[in-house]
């Protein structure tokens, strides 16, 4: 019998319902669906508060991924799709969200979502997503003041981390923690480009480097790379990180050292920022429609 190949990169999918909200008493129910290249999130908000969410891996086609996540978010709530009065799609697959009335770019949604998740003091948001990385400066309402998107390659992204976790056969949930278990911080790998870094890491392993040391060198390189991006938009307190890599202590703590600044502690799953922002915009758009 063939042994099943262990998938080290596989992170935990999750769903949640807010036990303190009775949606039947809510006036406005809106949805937000963020279809990213790696993960898809659906959130339901009741009167602008987070009611339920689902966070899943993006499948091979966007409309199905959006539908699966949306249905999973509704599961067990007794709510039907028609109870959600307005849904906005965002992310890379935003035009392929069947239940969405409107698509909004992820920059605006991440800014708005970070404002909700971290409060009005946030001025600089770093989103480290599955396949790209954005630095966004926002005001106290969550409106974008400036942004920068790293358009060149997958450096500093969740995808890169997945490749590493697979190469080193260490679960994606542990790579950050393991990278901290080094006595002396090694030099960063010279490239954060996933393909080059992978070759470099293989070489280091062959030279006898321990896995945690290789991880440390990679996390450090990733932190250095996103730090450069952040410097271009300028870092102003408070600082917050969204996206999957925000859960990776190995990258986050090294970045905090480079910046000399602590990132705010998240109140919600950091991968939800885009979907939360989308659901908040949906509320604004619905209220605008109702006034007409």
């Amino acid at each position: 019998m063939a042994e099943e190949k262990k998938e080290y990169w596989r992170w935990l999918e999750s769903r949640w319902t807010n036990p303190n909200i009775n949606w039947r008493q809510a006036k406005i129910i809106t949805g937000g669906v963020d279809v990213g290249s790696v993960s898809t999130q659906a959130v339901i908000m009741a009167d602008g508060d987070l009611y339920a969410f689902a966070n899943m891996r993006t499948g091979s086609d966007s409309p199905n991924s959006a539908r699966n996540a949306f249905n999973w978010a509704l599961e067990g709530t007794g709510m039907a799709e028609t109870d959600v009065k307005y849904t906005v799609g965002t992310g890379y697959g935003r035009v392929n969200v069947p239940m969405a009335k409107k698509a909004i770019t992820e920059i605006a949604c991440h800014a708005r979502g970070a404002n909700f998740m971290y409060g009005p003091t946030v001025r600089t948001v770093l989103d480290m997503g599955g396949q790209d990385c954005k630095a966004i400066r926002i005001d106290d309402k969550g409106k974008v003041e400036s942004f920068l998107m790293n358009d060149k390659c997958a450096a500093g992204t969740g995808r890169g981390m997945e490749v590493f976790s697979d190469l080193l056969t260490i679960s994606i949930n542990d790579v950050g923690k393991m990278s901290m278990e080094v006595d002396v911080e090694p030099e960063p790998v010279s490239s954060t480009c996933v393909i080059f870094a992978k070759t470099e890491a293989t070489g280091l392993l062959r030279q006898g480097w321990a896995k945690n040391k290789v991880l440390a060198a990679y996390c450090r390189a990733m932190a250095g790379r996103v730090n450069e991006l952040l410097q271009r938009v300028g870092v102003v307190k408070d600082f917050a990180i969204t996206g999957g890599i925000a859960k990776n202590i190995g990258v986050v703590s090294r970045l905090e050292n480079l910046l000399g600044l602590k990132a705010l502690t998240p109140r919600h799953d950091t991968q939800l920022a885009g979907a939360i922002g989308a659901a908040l915009f949906a509320k604004g758009l619905l209220e605008k429609d109702l006034k007409k």
Partner: protein, 108 residues
């Protein structure tokens, strides 16, 4: 809102910044640029805004260094970056000149 499009690589910074608060959507930059770097589209930062603004096209964002090279002959003698001489040359670029509202700037 200041939208920075482009990238940084081993050889330098290649960013075009568009100030969408200044941009009125006149599209003169789209006509002025020989490399079709600009396009009109939604304001990424403000989804409730109805009027289109100028953006750097998705295709050109990844290769601005090469797209703009013909316009930037000054780079053969100047080092680029934010020196006084380079900034004077940036002022003369077709896109920067075309924008009467001064919404466009370059980093190199």
């Amino acid at each position: 809102m200041l939208a920075n499009y482009g990238y940084k690589d081993g050889s330098g910074d290649y960013f075009i910044a568009i100030d969408t608060d200044k941009c009125n959507g006149c599209a003169k930059c789209v006509d002025a640029c020989p490399q079709s770097v600009f396009e009109m589209g939604d304001d990424d930062s403000d989804p409730l805004r109805e009027e289109p603004v100028a953006r750097v096209s998705g295709e050109q964002r990844k290769k601005l260094k090469y797209a703009c090279a013909p316009c930037k002959r000054y780079l053969t003698t100047l080092s680029g970056g934010k020196t006084e001489e380079t900034m004077k040359e940036i002022e003369k670029l077709p896109c920067v000149v075309s924008c009467e509202l001064r919404a466009i700037n370059h980093s190199w």
